[in-house]
Amino acid sequence: MFGYLRAYILIGVAAAGGGEVAGWDEGLMVTFAFITQSLLAGTGAFGEQELAERIRSGDVVVDLYRPVDVQLWWLASWSGRSAYTFGSRGIPPMLLGAVVFDLRVPPDAATWIVFALSVVLASGIGFAIRFAANLVAFWLLDSRGVDQLVTLVLTFFGGLLVPIVLFPPWLEAVARLLPFAAMAQVPAEVFLGLHPGRGALTALATQLAWFVALLALGRVMLGAATRKVVIQGG
């Protein structure tokens, strides 16, 4: 439903710009609306509080008692859920969109492959951000606000509201420097064929860099948390 809403808004934007804004025509805008809609759930754009909840209740000790790395443990569980979510909540919006609109689908297998990799990385970045945001619960007894803040910033800077190409140039530049664009805007652009040739590799490399950097941040936070913070309750 929101896909349609966003599609029509973007059509309006394109029409107001004389059929094209920032080099994006109506077809691009509409496809963008639906592809980002498909990416929402799988990248955790709706928020994720399970770990924070376990920290709050103290159940996180059980996770710490397992002979596995806590971050990788949660990454594994995220990956499984994300893969399922992409199937169940990612494909339907695209199909629904295709019923009414002429969506612009990648013409060649190479783009599809790059897109698939880009989505995997987007989901990984989504995990890394939420993991770090959830860990804040070790310091603040209630981290729901942090999670909502992440969701808000992500929605705006990730291009989930409008494509960041519609921002003023300086704001778009800021958005490109943040990891959120790598979660939605970038995979959508890959899908739309806006990163042809070596550009695709650059896009993937940027995503990978964010993924690794944010994982490292989560790891540092986890280390600090387990070293000094009280685990709630007996």
Binding site: V61, Y65, R66, P67, V68, T226, K228, V230, I231, G234
Partner: protein, 318 residues
Amino acid sequence: MASTDQPAIVADHLEKTFAVRHRAGRLRRHRIEVRAVDGVSFRVDPGEMVGYLGPNGAGKSTTIKMLTGILTPSGGSLATLGLDPTRHRTELAQRIGVVFGQRTQLWWDLPLADSFELLHHVYRTDRRRHEENLGSFVELLDMSSFMLTPVRQLSLGQRMRGELTAALLHDPALVVLDEPTIGLDIVSKLAVREFLVNLNRERGTTVLLTTHDLDDVEHLCQRMMIIDHGRVIHDGGVAEFKSTYGTHRTVVVDLVDAAPPLDVLGTMVTRVDGPRQRLRFDRSTTTAAQVIAGIVEEAAISDLSIEDLVRQVYDAGG
């Protein structure tokens, strides 16, 4: 691997302090240090079953978290199965089993059978050994009827049997049980106890148990440690404990009618409830026979329960 004569746990002047902030104005906070564990030293040998007791907030859970590497000690030294727990938490997790009476390590939405299968992969246990263990635990704990029920639908007693199995499938050398019988009915409680005794006897598994159920300690442990205000105030055999602290006995006298407190040599009336009076005496100076002889009416002698004794010790420590 650890040699068999290596101690399971060695704690030496173990300390843990927490900083607690108190509000002291609109923005100012007072920082107060709380010593949750204050210089605790003990040693647990392989194959021992030790009861670790103390009132709520005495420092039991904090000690356990340090032993298992979840919390870093503020001072003193600690070795669990020969390892420094905080530095080798993950490695240690492979060799210990932990059961929390109030938490679950099972997956709420999965049946027990699936949880156990997952644990087989998490701990990378040998397939044959896993099947063997699982088979024997299912039989000993009588779990076959609910192996396929999702965990959230299990009764507490059923779930606790699942928890024990989950903690033991990887053949841990040390099991730490935090209030494993809390909230259990008598049948499940007995099943859990019998299972633990069996485990300790058959496999030589070291067991450290915290509980408020002193019956557990009496039935399971040869040794008990009592901690209060962060210090160990008793460490020794359970039988020895009873004789050390149990020098006082109470005689309960049911008189035919209410009467003023009885005056019997060597005793003191501690309570009068209508016709019932409680006379306390010191076993080391006065014998029960003397007391009874001093009472003309019919008298019943009740042995102090271990629960009362422990309360006395808590009172004395507090």
